[in-house]
Amino acid sequence: MAEPFLSIQHVRKSFGATTVVEDFNLDVAPGEFVSFLGPSGCGKTTVLRMVAGFEEPSAGKIVVGGKDITRLKPNQRNVGMVFQAYALFPNLTVAQNIGFGLKVAGMAKAAIDSRVAEMLDIIKLPQMADRYPYQLSGGQQQRIALARAIAPKPKLLLLDEPLSALDAKVRVSLREEIRSIQKKLGITTIFVTHDQEEALSISDRIAVMYGGKAEQVGTPFEIYNRPATKFVANFVGTLNVLEGKVTDPASGKVQVNAQEVSLKGKLNGSKSGDTLSLALRPEAISLARQPGHDTSLSGEIAEVHFLGSVIRVRVGIGGNTVSLDTFNNSATPPPAVGEKADISFSSGDMLVLH
């Protein structure tokens, strides 16, 4: 990575005896869009609030553009932030809300007006300048909040679950809009969310957090396909977990329901007889053997759900159940419950969970 623009170094935060963030480290490159993804209470918002200056770290430091901002007040950091609850000032019009930061900075009225007009164009709401927040929909309010945050040209943009309060359709369109504006302005952005689809779809990198720690930091592709921990594997996407018994750690051989599976590489740290959790994404499995699939397991169809374009099938393999999706094909009826079935996959797609 080039010289990081934002560097969070060994940051810890405790409230009394409770530690909510432990030794958190992250470097963010200039113009990068990084998401903090995790369940409620994992510490993602606390890290964001420490970057914003609303919480002071108990230990560690935060550097932005080479400058240590750990002890700076929020109003001295030149950071923009969008809140989950919009936080538009109810007594001010849209234009006044967007111009608030510029006015506080002492900018001349003409310059404020011009910048506000520019921002309204960027968020595609030029006709809304004189409206009050209560006259806008949730999606419009959040776009105004975004315009207000970026109007003073902050060094860093923080988005604290900005889409959580919106309905599904608006969420999708607004997240694309946020990403497009972020790319256009090239502003370094931290996005907090508990929605994996959101994080996967718009981030350059994702930091998956759990228990106050970053479990894994990587691109959406890496996070999804190469989860580093059991938590990441379970939290991001749908996952089939199979219990297997190690038979030959040196050659990576494992038994699943008395059927042998050869994993890619050695099973370092395991010995024969150990039980392992093995993970497979549904899309890596097929009912019939496919080209490139070198492993198969026999089982019995346990459930079939016809969902229109997709058929979701659950196959029982001993004590394990594997879920997979197949596309609907009008020429082939779906499998019947109780039928014997073989599933196939590439052994390279099978992950060992730690």
Binding site: A52, V79, M81, F89, P90, N91
Partner: protein, 263 residues
């Protein structure tokens, strides 16, 4: 259902009679100054009395200063409690209720003992200082109303998020209070201000014992020595109070609407 409605009307009529009959009687009595005919003579005498004008103006000025003092003390305090010290809110609510429990006469005797001419803070040494002490006393008396009004106003907005939104945009505390918080609780502050005004205009104990020429002692003095004028004065004082209440109602229509609570 019909029986329930009937009794509801009975209760309403009894309540209205309890409230309006003394009022109508007072109005009727205040207009009987001229023998054998209704007239506004008592009102003319009262409104033309230089002492009425002087004491009323004195109380109006005292009320304005009390409101300013109340706003300066209560708004930042209630704001800070909501923002940073929500755990002490029950304690502060209790303290603000004390003026309703402790009689004004006890408070004013405390003042006289504490701030006499031998005190390090000799509020009673001259008229200006005593006027200031009276305003402080009035601010104490109006605290239950002002605090509750402001606190209710603060409850309607997301104080913490709005504060943080303003902070991250570069605003300092004075900007946050004057441009974000106060405008959004202005109607609540005005409600508190009008209640304060109504209390100060009619207050007797403090003004009398501190020997200040306020409207309350004037009302008492007229009441003790005249027949029809006290009734006219009571109606005038009542009209002022109702005027204040009406203004609260009218102004509340112009309150900034919260984005989350559009109506």
């Amino acid at each position: 259902m019909k029986t329930g409605r009937f009794w509801a009307w009975v209760v309403f009529i009894l309540g209205a009679a309890y409230f309006f009959i003394p009022l109508i009687a007072t109005v009727e009595f205040s207009m009987r100054m001229r023998r054998g005919a209704y007239s506004f003579d008592a009102y003319q005498i009262v409104l033309g009395d230089p002492r009425f004008q002087a004491t009323f103006m004195y109380s109006v000025v005292a009320a304005i200063f009390t409101i300013i003092l109340g706003v300066l003390v209560v708004v930042p305090a209630a704001y800070w409690i909501r923002l940073r010290l929500p755990q002490i809110r029950p304690l502060v609510e209790f303290i603000t209720l004390l003026p309703l429990v402790i009689p004004a006469i006890v408070i004013v005797f405390g003042y006289i003992r504490m701030y006499g001419s031998n005190s390090p803070l000799p509020f009673l040494a001259n008229d200006t200082a005593t006027n200031a002490l009276l305003v402080i006393g009035y601010a104490t008396l109006s605290l239950p109303y002002m605090y509750r009004a402001v606190d209710t106003g603060l409850r309607t907005i997301d104080v913490r998020t709005l504060t943080e939104a303003a902070q991250i945009l570069g605003a300092g505390w004075s900007t946050i209070i004057t441009r974000v918080i106060l405008p959004n609780v202005l109607i609540a502050v005005l409600s508190g201000a009008f209640l304060t005004f109504a209390i100060v205009i009619g207050e007797f104990t403090m003004a009398s014992l501190l020997n200040r020429p306020a409207f309350g002692p004037y009302l008492q003095n007229i009441g003790a020595n005249r027949a029809y004028e006290p009734a006219a004065l009571a109606i005038i004082a009542f009209a002022i109070t109702w005027g204040c209440m009406s203004l609260i109602q009218i102004l509340s229509r112009f309150a900034p609407k919260s984005a989350n609570r559009p109506n």
